[in-house]
């Protein structure tokens, strides 16, 4: 625990320094920008609400990445899964009769979104198990493909005339705000926290969760112990995709009330940072999501001073330093996340861990 905190502290320091150089380079004062960033986020009720609003999807995508990590897979496709999930959530919401009771309508919409995400990630899982095609490249390709399919489906059927968003959903399927004045923070935060608790319970307390962890630590040993790896890989990818697909609850049901092209973009990639910072533990992920959410909203709060891309740059540097520091400290040979196994197959080395026929 102490080591984790010091690693993250170090990463933040490195990022802050590198960020200072970039801010100074364009002729602005780093201290002023960082001060503005803090005041704009944790300095007011509105700011805090916005941080929570930005953190909600990051909890979900962080969990998504972490679940895949736990069984030794990389889900780089949370980006596409959350887009598909949000789109389906919005379509489902628009199709819901206004007479249905609120909670049921909202729940149905979220479930539909999760199903879409699960299908998409599950496909990458199936391709991996069946053909040994690496999930990293496939999930990235699916990100591109999904954006095209949504654009096509939207343009030809679902988008309103002349704009790239769908019909507004009826009030009964929307989620209520959390009461931070003016902020979009909504009850999907509770959903995200609930799912985090569920993931924690699953891995710590259930038999299947134990099997999944075993498959992640040592696939061959797990297989010999009777774990069916193909099922674990497909299942973990599907759950991972479902978590990313739930992001629509925040943006569609809780905020915009329709799907708009580009909604939630980059939250998927940020999920990787969140999972890494949170060391794949749900509690850690919630904390990491708050941190990244602070940066995300902070980027908007400082946008008058510096281009908002500074935030993405800081986040990338944080990931690099955490990944580097974690491996550097005596965990050489193992990837950053403590529970992820040495990748036997990676983008370039997609060896099928399930069947060993082609040796």
């Amino acid at each position: 625990m102490k080591r984790e905190v010091s690693t993250i502290g170090l990463a933040l320091l490195v990022a802050a320094l590198a960020g200072s150089v970039l801010i100074w380079f364009i002729g602005k004062s780093p201290l002023e920008v960082y001060g503005l960033l803090l005041r704009g986020t944790w300095g007011s009720a509105y700011g805090i609400g916005q941080v929570l609003f930005k953190a909600t999807p990051l909890i979900l995508t962080g969990l998504a990445v972490a679940v895949a990590f736990k069984v030794g897979l990389f889900n780089i496709g949370a980006e596409g899964q959350l887009a598909a999930g949000s789109f389906v959530t919005a379509l489902c919401g628009a199709a819901c009769p206004a007479s249905w009771p609120g909670p049921i309508a909202a729940l149905l919409c979220v479930l539909a979104g999760m199903l879409a995400g699960a299908g998409l990630a599950g496909l990458a899982g199936v391709l991996k198990v069946r053909y040994g095609a690496h999930e990293v490249i496939n999930t990235i390709m699916l990100n591109f493909i999904v954006s095209g399919v949504i654009l096509w489906a939207g343009n030809s059927h679902f988008f309103l005339k002349g704009i790239t968003h769908t019909k507004t959903i009826p009030d009964n399927a929307t989620l209520s705000h959390l009461g931070f004045p003016g902020s979009a923070a909504n009850t999907s935060l509770l959903l995200a926290l609930g799912l985090a608790a569920a993931v924690a319970y699953f891995f710590a307390r259930t038999r299947r969760g134990f099997e999944w962890r075993a498959a992640g630590h040592n696939p061959r040993a797990a297989e010999n112990g009777g774990v069916e790896l193909a099922g674990v890989f497909i299942g973990a990818m599907a759950i991972s995709g479902a978590l990313a697909g739930a992001v629509g609850a925040n943006y569609v049901l809780g905020y915009k009330h329709y799907y708009e092209q580009g909604i939630g973009s980059s939250d998927g990639f940020m999920g990787i940072a969140v999972a890494l910072l949170g060391r794949n533990h749900p509690a850690g992920i919630v904390v990491a999501a708050l941190l990244m959410g602070t940066l995300s909203h902070g980027g908007l709060a400082t946008a008058d001073e510096v281009p908002k891309e500074i935030v993405q740059i800081l986040q990338a540097i944080i990931i690099l330093s955490v990944a580097g520091a974690a491996a550097y400290r005596g965990r050489a040979g193992k990837p950053g996340p403590a529970t992820a196994p040495v990748p036997t197959g990676d983008a370039g080395a997609p060896r099928d861990p399930v069947e060993h026929k082609d040796g």
Partner: protein, 296 residues
């Protein structure tokens, strides 16, 4: 339909294929060298992007000197690759996580500076680029020569042997006195130079840099390296396939009305997935790919 067929076999079309294949092929060769040394290179995408940005800045700053633009582009590629090597070779960070982080960085840095200096977040000011026709462009011949050079270097030289050795069995190479991490650094930097040139080609083929212009080409190049079973010449052949798909997309958009453009544009990505499923298992990756090395 006939119109469409005529276009497919015209010289213009073939030139288009060559033009769009170039970034794929250069990045794929970079991917082959890096992966042969045991380092997975998801960061190719970011290197392409930074190479393109560097070339654009170079072209603009020097008043359209192609030479300076290439210098900047290759320099930016090597610098990005150096950051990647620092993370994954020296610090032994996880290669996929670091690669994704580096790509995030490379997607954010160009808009950051564009906004700060040119007050536009998505486009650079106009520059001239290559201009002229394809076959008058010396860079084309340079790139074609590079295919031969890289193939020979990887398969026929002492350095190439070392690269392959540290990728297949780093401990044996270490025992024989080869510095594994030094070779991996060199391989990653070389891949940075190649992909940086690929990015420059991308930027100089047009007349301005557009944010996000690498558009997944780095990932596709990596897939091409896998399809070519980690051999430079074959990786280039696979890149040609993707270049062909890309060029076809341009033309199908104009000629085929029955399939929506939004879907046609995604054809190269679908093709990547399909070919990956078919080719894997038949090609054998370097044995130590993805594992950081530390001497015991």
């Amino acid at each position: 339909m006939a119109e469409w067929l005529v276009t497919m076999f015209s010289l213009t079309f073939l030139m288009q294929v060559v033009r769009v294949t170039m970034p794929y092929a250069l990045a794929a060769m970079g991917g082959v060298i890096s992966e042969r040394s045991g380092v997975v290179n998801i960061a190719l995408e970011g290197i392409l992007m930074m190479g393109a940005f560097g070339a654009a800045v170079g072209a603009y700053d020097s008043g359209d000197s192609v030479f300076v633009a290439l210098l900047y582009g290759i320099g930016a590629g090597v610098a990005t690759a150096a950051l990647y090597a620092l993370a994954v070779v020296t610090w032994k960070a996880d290669q996929i996580v670091s690669g994704v982080a580096l790509n995030m960085l490379a997607y954010a840095i160009p808009p950051y500076f564009l906004k700060a200096f040119y007050n536009s977040s998505s486009n650079s000011p106009k520059y001239q680029g290559f201009g002229g026709t394809l076959f008058d462009n010396p860079v084309l011949w340079l790139a074609l020569a590079l295919v031969v050079v890289v193939q020979v270097v990887v398969t026929r030289t002492r350095w190439g042997l070392r690269v392959r050795a540290v990728g297949d069995n780093p401990h044996a190479a270490h025992t024989l006195g080869v510095s594994v991490n030094a070779i991996r650094w060199q391989a990653v930097l070389t891949s940075g130079a190649l992909a940086g040139l690929g990015g420059s080609w991308l930027a100089l083929s047009g007349s301005s840099f557009v944010a996000g212009m690498s558009a997944g080409r780095g990932y596709i190049a990596l897939a091409a390296a896998i399809m070519g079973s980690w051999r430079p010449a074959w990786a280039c052949a696979a890149s040609l396939l993707f270049g062909f798909a890309d060029a076809m997309v341009f033309n199908l958009e104009t000629f085929v009305k029955s399939v929506p453009n939004e879907l046609i544009q995604k054809f190269p990505y679908v093709l990547t997935m399909i070919t990956l499923c078919g080719f894997i298992g038949r090609s054998r990756p370097p044995a130590d790919l993805g594992r950081p090395f530390s001497a015991r």
